[in-house]
Symmetry: C3
């Protein structure tokens, strides 16, 4: 098994090697009972996590808080830029240095790509990127991989379809990239022409062992895949609303499409209507499990970074 | 003594039997020292309470947080619908399932009646209704009864006057209903004609042992009662402001009215001007004690539900 | 050494005697390892701090929260008046009494001078003033003194320059007053004529051993001082923006001015541009250390007040 986690900060999936991912997934497994409230822990007793959410994100914020608190740690911070000192004209650097003075690690959410990296360069405590604009959301990718490993049993040899908005959806970019670190993965890309996977992501995938293929309908590949990974198509992405209405239905998943298939459905949430609620009470639904997996995975990350980098 | 609390969720006073109420009041008594910071506890160590406040309520939120924290538990959640994922278009059901994944119990506050019940039907952790619109606020009723029992010594044979807005005030509806589970209680109803107790509440009371009587002034009954339970009359309830100004004074409690009487004054708070501050430093004032009692009572509820329903 | 801290509340620097200050600085020293996350503590286990922030202040709020949590205590409260019950028409007195019922101590931030004092008169738990309008911010002064003592080694015989807005800056008023409790301190006052130290503060200083002197440029005294204490000049203070622009540059500190000098630079933060960022990575920069010192000092205050005044 892997003995060391090399990274001090979690900024981008591109910093990961396969062993880093396996280390976190393995730690997360060991923390399952604590995450699920079956055991208590004092692993991070007295430690404080600084949450710098320049833009709101209830789900991400609450799962980081839960992860810290299940390990007997505590949180401080702000939920949006209006309640930060930046609203008084303070620089992001000064704000980060102040919160660093109070905390053992920082979690950053910002609408601009690169802010987490910038902060990690000026503070000494570990920094975790919790989403920066169209950029990265690496802890989401780790919990996606954890869900795949737990539910399917393997990541090497995986066959996965990425559905919906592949152009702007940062979770599918990060996930595709991370899958490139595994062996013999096949990715099907299913999206409207307006929302295809960007050329630079495909270019990155070309350098890996991943095979990818664009397909124009879910039906064509639904018998071949282990995972259907659905993302939301925002109508704001379309200049003409009629273009949106025309294609919309082709990317909505319902129970009937899934019957008899051997696969799971994942979604980074929040869902609007791209998965019909009739899927919720079926064995295909793993999107709520995926959300719940945020806790053991983020616990593993917090524990590892804070223990490896004491103040 | 009662050995078991039957309910998994606290949604409505109408679900209570007398023994459920007595169970919680008895537990609350045992938790007094911890509530008052004289002893520490690890009863809910590592446990997490999910607070879903779709509308703000400082008092209720803070007393639930205090109750959880005095028992060494923790809280996550949101304080208003703007900071929930519902503001991004997520359904309440999905939001509740997400937070369920992180928590051991949920507390729901919503401006619409029935939301707590709806959520309790789709999640597996215990759900506590912390106020839904004109509907129920059952934990308020429990702390009201706890205050009566502690301060008067009995609930059977109680004589209580409900004063003020009996039409829209949900606390008086719930309290009247709960008193119907006890023996030989007499309720005096004192309100302007525009704000009388609704017919359906009276209809419910007719099925119980409670006797009730409408009276047109506080003076007539002030020598006969153990408890004067005051609620606020909002001027917005009156079409014509002059109607409000005419009646207003008749429902304001002051020190002079109370002198020489053997009773206590209660109020769910916040108070505006319906109890004169000259009552604050008298023996009649039990409204601040009542507010403080929120903690042992909510501690008893949280402890009971979370211990009885482990994840 | 000092054995007792006399005060129950921390309202104003004017309530301090030298021994009170020394008691807190000494306690803060002993708590350094816990503040810096090198040791854990259960000193305030089960205790709850009520934060009543009628106006937002991220830095002050987070450092109080951190201080409480490092000692294994917890916090409840509100961050701005909109999320308090005062927004529903409740009086500040009633709000304070409610939160008192849930907490072991209160921290008050309000835009009006005197609110903390008013609240301390009506509640029984200890009250800490975390800034009231143009009035006092006594815990800031304590952390300023702690920083001076740690970094310079002494407070008696100190030579300090106060720079910038000496008229409206409450931190410099409080600091000057507190320095009056020490021996043989010399204060240089450097400000534009529009923003000179108020006559009443100078009058207070005249009654102490402090010597003060107005000087019209930093250059004249920079070789003589131990501490350069910088505050921000807000352009809103000037009727004519041109007056502001004319004087602005004379009060900006940069690396070149400091080279070869034997002094430290302090600032209560947030900084806008009155200290050039080229000072950040020099030995002169103690403003980030000063911000970090908020934690041991506020820990010392919280521990002392809560332990000395059990509910």
């Amino acid at each position: 098994m892997i003995k060391i986690f090399r990274l001090k900060n979690i900024i981008s999936v591109k910093d990961f090697e396969r062993e880093d991912i396996e280390y976190i997934l393995n730690e997360a497994s060991k923390l399952e009972n604590i995450a699920k409230s079956k055991e208590t822990s004092e692993e991070l007793k007295g430690k404080i996590l600084g949450l710098m959410f320049f833009e709101p994100s209830t789900r991400t914020r609450m799962s980081f808080e839960t992860s810290m608190k299940r390990l007997n740690g505590e949180c401080i911070g702000f939920e949006n830029s209006k309640s930060s000192s930046v609203s008084k004209g303070e620089s992001i650097a000064d704000t980060a240095k102040m919160i660093e003075g109070y905390s053992d690690a920082l979690v950053i959410r910002h609408e601009l790509e690169g802010v987490s990296k910038f902060i990690s360069d000026i503070v000494e405590v570990p920094v975790i990127n919790a989403g920066d604009g169209a950029g990265q959301h690496p802890t989401q990718t780790l919990l996606d991989l954890y869900t795949i490993k737990n539910e399917i049993g393997f990541i090497d040899d995986l066959k996965i379809a990425l559905i919906g908005d592949l152009k702007f959806g940062r979770t599918v970019h990060s996930l595709a990239y991370a899958l490139g670190l595994f062996n013999n993965v096949k990715i099907y890309l299913v999206s409207p022409p307006e929302l295809e996977m960007p050329q630079e992501v495909l270019h990155d995938l070309d350098k890996t062992n991943v095979k990818y293929e664009k397909v124009d309908s879910i039906e064509k590949i639904i018998d071949d895949i282990n995972v259907l990974y659905v993302t939301r198509i925002q109508k704001e992405r379309f200049g003409d609303i009629n273009d949106y209405l025309k294609i919309k239905g082709a990317y909505i998943i319902n129970r009937k499409m899934l019957e008899g298939k051997d696969l799971i459905v994942m979604h980074p949430l929040p869902r609007i209507d791209e998965i019909d609620t009739d899927v919720d009470n079926t064995k295909y639904n793993k999107y709520f499990t995926q959300a719940e997996n945020a806790v053991p995975v983020r616990m593993a990350i917090l524990k590892t970074l804070i223990k490896n980098n004491p103040k």
